[in-house]
């Protein structure tokens, strides 16, 4: 759901950029104050893995495609701030090196995939106790993508030429991502469950 250049009007671009800059500053302050180098190194490796995973575009019968986003997974494994930084670095490299995601849309893409997706994933995982954590991970992955998709729909809806733009873009993005998000939820839960067994020290 990387928004390209040309989709967002200047105001939407500016507002989302402001959110991104403020949130990034805050995340780095949190990083300096609260995070260890070990955990931040894990964040770097996870970011690289997420970058690679995002390159696998799965075609869907019916003529669309999806790729794993990984924001919820990052939020679950790293918490909201390092999870944000991981996705932020992925989106930054995708935009600047490959123009995947517009430079004018970087703020919006970061808001959707590095803020909303990460926070929703983190919150839902935390909300479930002990043996129900996989459920939390699934819901975090699914709802994170769905709400990120809705936010994306809002951003392009308000930017569109049509007065009823939102009424078109929000349902299209929301419904599609609610369906495709099931896959993200399943992968998120599977990865979290696997790591909880093989590398429980990651979940301290």
């Amino acid at each position: 759901m990387h928004i390209p250049d040309g989709f967002l009007d200047p105001l939407t671009a500016a507002v989302t950029y402001a959110i991104m800059l403020a949130y990034t500053a805050f995340a780095f302050i949190k990083l300096r104050r609260e995070e260890s180098e070990d955990k931040a190194t894990l964040a770097a490796v996870l970011a690289a893995g997420i970058f690679a995973a995002q390159m696998l575009n799965w075609p869907i019968p019916g003529g669309t495609s999806l790729h794993f986003v990984g924001g919820a997974l990052a939020g679950i494994l790293l918490g909201p701030w390092l999870g944000y930084i991981s996705l932020f670095l992925v989106l930054l490299v995708q935009c600047l090196v490959f123009h995947d995601g517009g430079i004018t849309a970087l703020g919006a893409n970061v808001l959707n995939m590095a803020i909303i997706d990460v926070l929703v994933g983190y919150a839902l995982y935390k909300a479930f106790p002990g043996k129900y954590k996989p459920v939390g991970a699934f819901l975090g992955g699914w709802l994170g993508i769905t709400l990120a998709g809705v936010a994306c729909g809002i951003e392009i809806g308000v930017s569109s030429q049509l007065p009823y733009g939102l009424a078109v873009t929000v349902p299209v993005m929301g419904v599609w991502h609610a369906i495709l998000g099931v896959v993200e939820g399943v992968i998120t839960a599977a990865v979290v469950t696997y790591l909880a067994r093989r590398a429980p020290y990651l979940f301290s």
């Binding site: 300096r32 991981s86 992925v90 490959f98 392009i156 809806g157 299209v172």
Partner: protein
């Protein structure tokens, strides 16, 4: 500190990625729900008009798309890892706890 096995797994993902990102994508005429929504409300993607990078859309000039996708993947993974490890150093300085 970075596990070799994890890096190997990441490398494997990149190596198989063009099956999905290039071959299968072309087979379905790659587009995402975002493209569908944008078409419906008349938004125009101007990526190619304002492009600055030779690696647009994970291609490498002079290489066929499939190979270029893999090379681009490795470039991206290295860039993300380098930035990430640099950020990790920030956490390692004053104010961090282990």
């Amino acid at each position: 500190m970075v596990s070799k096995r994890v890096l190997l797994f990441v490398a494997l993902l990149v190596l198989i990625s063009p099956v999905f990102g290039v071959i299968l994508s072309e087979a379905v005429g790659y587009h995402e729900p975002l493209d569908i929504a944008a078409e419906e409300v008349g938004l125009e993607d101007i990526t190619e008009k304002v492009n600055w990078t030779p690696f647009l859309d994970y291609t490498v000039p002079g290489l066929p798309d499939t190979i270029g996708y893999i090379v681009a993947g490795f470039i991206g993974v290295c860039a993300v890892l380098a930035l990430g490890l640099g950020v990790a150093k920030l956490a390692g300085r004053k104010g961090s706890k282990t």
